[in-house]
């Protein structure tokens, strides 16, 4: 591959947040017409780097040059004008505006025009969607779109304005397998148009499938930069984590007469899912997979009482239980680790201690409602030790922890109750490879101790590695079950794409 010109160059970028050094002397080169992967574990500084080159954060030191010119102090506005575009992990759409206006917004800001009109926005949005070959209802409010379409809108917005460099911070975490394919195809098109695309992902397959070059960060330092074709999987994992990690299937078969701890019979909810019947046995890890928007999250949240089912029943240990609210579910011994850690899982500003007891307050209070200090202390210490949460002070806010440790805190919150059934939604999304294996190991251990585990995920290797069985959901119904005997990456993938 011929060396093309360097579009964006960062030199000696340093950033500290309070005491935490997020980036130290990082150097990155991005070339025209390449897909460049930023890899690294949680908290290694990837997002910080993106925030700095897009003007969202100011570096403590270092220079950024674009096409050979020092850009000086960068603001988001300046970055947009210079042709630096970012698709943030949370999409950053405007829920109150129409899709068309959302798509037009970046271009409008960059054009520095003072007057705007709906018609222009519509024309631009139409042109963009046509160019990218996506179909979207442009007049709909963004808040009314399903997640996958919002993702498409965010991508269209980034493309609506002529960009030189496009950063995509973990764009695939909210996407299903099939949508990822479409996105990667799109990235290919862009590369062909001469754009530089910087891609952040924890999923190694994606890195290998799409990237030309990779920069690996560890603890805020660049530990590797080079062509992807010179790397193989184990090597990349080793540079990222500094150690070897395996992803092999590790499942202990259960005795055939093991009784189910959780069973659903004909569970249904209007417009969302129907006839969902399955069971999870004590000690079993069951996978629930399906495309995003297939209804798998809805099923999990119905079991957890968040959005209760209208029909059918839920049985715990063979007894039917009425689950009309989260409270009912918890009382029945069901726990749920939600999919979006930051908004649904943790209380960022609150102490690790408070986060850990958030799910079991009812058990930690005396009859008068007073918190029992000793019981609280015991719960917190047990969780920190058994989950190996890396912290020196449980009074520190959860904000100070890395992503993987934050996820351990969410897990710890529920394990403190020793639930009969643990339901987890995408438990390793946004968690780096080292932490991911640790979290999966916790699930295996708990299952072996007799808990029933239901894992929702579309990370196929992960499902294969940890699950006894995998159920496939499509358009609100369970359409397939892959038993242990025929479990393989290929089988699950086939089921998913069906």
């Amino acid at each position: 591959m011929p060396e093309t010109a360097i579009v964006l160059r960062a030199r000696g970028v340093r950033k500290t947040y309070g005491g935490v050094t997020a980036l130290r002397e990082a150097d990155v080169d991005i070339r025209r017409g390449e897909v460049h992967c930023l890899a690294g574990e949680n908290g290694s500084g990837k997002s910080t780097l993106i925030k700095i080159v897009s003007g969202v954060e100011q570096p403590d030191a270092g220079t950024i040059t674009l096409d050979g010119h020092d850009v000086g102090r960068l603001t988001p506005t300046r970055a947009v004008e210079l042709g630096i575009q970012v698709i943030h992990q949370d999409l950053s759409l405007f829920p109150n505006l129409s899709v068309a206006e959302n798509i037009a917004m970046v271009a409008r800001v960059a054009s520095r025009r003072r007057l705007v009109s709906r018609r222009d926005a519509m024309a631009l949005a139409k042109a963009t969607t046509e160019r990218l070959g996506v179909s979207l209802d442009l007049t709909e409010r963004a808040s009314n779109l399903p997640v996958a379409q919002r993702q498409l809108a965010a991508i269209c917005r980034a493309f609506a304005h002529d960009a030189k460099v496009l950063f995509m911070d973990e764009p695939t975490t909210a996407l299903t397998w099939r949508e990822v394919d479409a996105l990667l195809a799109l990235v290919d098109t862009l590369r062909a148009e001469g754009l530089a695309v910087v891609f952040v992902s924890h999923k190694l397959e994606e890195v290998f499938r799409i990237s030309d070059r990779v920069t690996v960060l560890r603890n805020g330092e660049v530990v590797h930069a080079g062509e992807v074709k010179d790397l193989d999987r184990p090597t990349l994992v080793r540079v990222m984590t500094g150690q070897d990690v395996t992803e092999d299937r590790d499942v202990t078969e259960l005795p055939p007469d093991t009784r189910p701890v959780l069973a659903t019979r004909g569970l249904g909810r209007r417009h969302e899912f129907a006839d969902v019947s399955f069971s999870v046995r004590a000690g079993e890890v069951v996978g629930l997979t399906g495309l995003l928007g297939s209804g798998r999250t809805e099923i999990a949240e119905a079991i957890f009482g968040m959005r209760p089912a209208d029909t059918g029943e839920i049985l715990v240990d063979g007894e039917p239980v009425r689950v009309r609210s989260v409270h009912d579910a918890i009382r029945a011994g069901i726990a749920y680790v939600p999919g979006d850690r930051l908004t649904q899982g943790v209380f960022l500003g609150q102490s690790i201690r408070r986060n850990l007891i958030a799910g079991s307050i009812d058990r930690l209070i005396s009859r008068t409602g007073r918190l029992r200090d000793k019981a609280v202390q015991r719960t917190v210490t047990t969780a920190v030790e058994s989950l190996r949460i890396k912290t020196s002070d449980v009074a520190a806010p959860v904000r100070t922890l890395s992503g993987g440790n934050q996820q351990r805190v969410v897990l710890g919150k529920w394990l403190a109750r020793s639930p009969r059934v643990l339901v987890l939604n995408s438990p390793t999304v946004g968690v780096d490879i080292g932490s991911k294996e640790g979290i999966l190991q916790v699930l295996r251990d708990r299952a072996r101790a007799g808990m029933g585990v239901l894992v929702i995920s579309d990370d196929v290797p992960e499902l294969v590695s940890v699950c006894h069985r995998v159920l496939v959901v499509r358009r609100g119904r369970v359409v397939d079950e892959i038993a242990s005997a025929r479990m393989s990456v290929q089988a699950v993938t086939d089921g998913l794409t069906g």
Partner: protein, 335 residues
């Protein structure tokens, strides 16, 4: 589909219907209500509130709330009169420009706190209200001034048109003109300028706005300066229309304006609201006040009515949110 169009994006249709209903009922209950005189009276009585409401709309769309505008208004309106008296100056146009400028300067305190320090707007503006009102009476003056400069006196008595009917003369004050103009200007600002769309964007999601390169600080600064300017303008208009300057006026009547904007369909969470809705909301409250006064209902009922209307307005909004369209997932069995 047609019905929902009639209802309008922010319930404007519903409001218009309510207003028509109220007018008809009043027309039946109180003969003589329907007529140009009532129209002119109601317009005159809502001009000041409407000016404030336009400022409030912009603030609310940007995701904030402002309770300092009454203090800013009376500071500007009264302050300008004091200054004119001290200088022995007279004029018609420049006092309004000066009042708006004063309002903007006072609004910059809000701007600095909200844009500069990202503090919660309700509490910031409560603080500003205290400071501005305290400063007005401690440093500018506390005397009731019954004599306005001639230019303003004349303006107060100038009519856009006057219609004489059997029941008397309906006079449409000249000051209706600038307020109508302001409505059009604010509507254009919100719909057709980048600044206006940025205000909606910030109201929808501040962080996203910052990320697409909208200068959030600058837009918020504009919002609070503009709301301040409108408050200042409205303050002098209040002084002019009532032909006296009382530094103890206005403060305490914030709710009517906030209520009007909220009833007009603006979302207190930001990002939604329209000039049309605001005009209708202000009209509805003015009409209710006018009708209750006309029927001799004690003023306590007005408080109750406005409070209930606000609950009704936001309750409807909240319920509407809950009933948001959801995309069906389930492939229902075809029959």
């Amino acid at each position: 589909m047609r019905l929902s169009r009639l209802r309008g994006e922010n319930n404007e249709g519903l409001l218009a219907g309510l207003i028509i209903l109220l007018v008809l009922v009043m027309g039946v209950v109180e003969p003589g209500f329907l007529g140009p005189a009532t129209f002119a009276n109601v317009v005159r009585s809502l001009l000041v509130d409407l000016t404030f409401a336009l400022g409030m709309l912009v603030v609310i769309v940007s995701g904030g709330i402002d309770v300092s505008f009454t203090a800013i208004a009376i500071f500007s309106g009264y302050g300008v009169i004091v200054l004119m008296n001290d200088l022995g100056a007279d004029g018609t146009f420049w006092p309004f420009a000066l009042a708006a400028l004063t309002g903007a300067v006072l609004g910059s305190l809000n701007a600095a706190m909200v844009a500069g320090f990202r503090l919660p707007t309700l509490i910031v503006t409560l603080g500003t209200q205290g400071i501005v009102r305290g400063a007005l009476i401690a440093f500018i003056g506390s005397q009731y001034l019954s004599n306005l400069p001639t230019g303003l006196e004349t303006l107060a008595r100038s009519d856009l048109f006057a219609i004489t009917t059997g029941g008397g003369t309906a006079r449409m004050t000249l000051l209706a003109l600038p307020v109508a103009l302001l409505c059009v200007l604010v509507a254009l600002l919100l719909r057709s300028t980048m600044l206006g769309r940025s205000i909606y964007a910030i109201g929808g999601d501040v962080e996203s706005a910052r990320r697409v390169g909208i200068r959030v600080g600058r837009v918020q600064t504009f919002v609070y300066l503009f709301a301040g300017a409108l408050a200042g303008f409205g303050g002098l208009m209040h002084v002019t229309l009532s032909r006296q300057a009382n530094p103890y006026d206005l403060v305490g009547s914030e709710l009517d304006v906030i209520a009007a904007v909220v009833i007009g369909g603006a979302s207190i969470f930001g990002g939604r609201g329209s000039v049309l809705g605001t005009v209708l909301g202000v009209t509805l409250i003015a009409l209710i006040n006018n009708s209750l006064v006309l029927l001799g209902v004690p003023s306590a009922w007005q408080r109750l009515a406005v409070g209930l209307l606000v609950l009704l307005g936001v309750g409807l909004q909240a319920l509407g949110q809950g009933r948001r369209k959801s995309t069906p997932i389930l492939a229902e069995a075809r029959s």
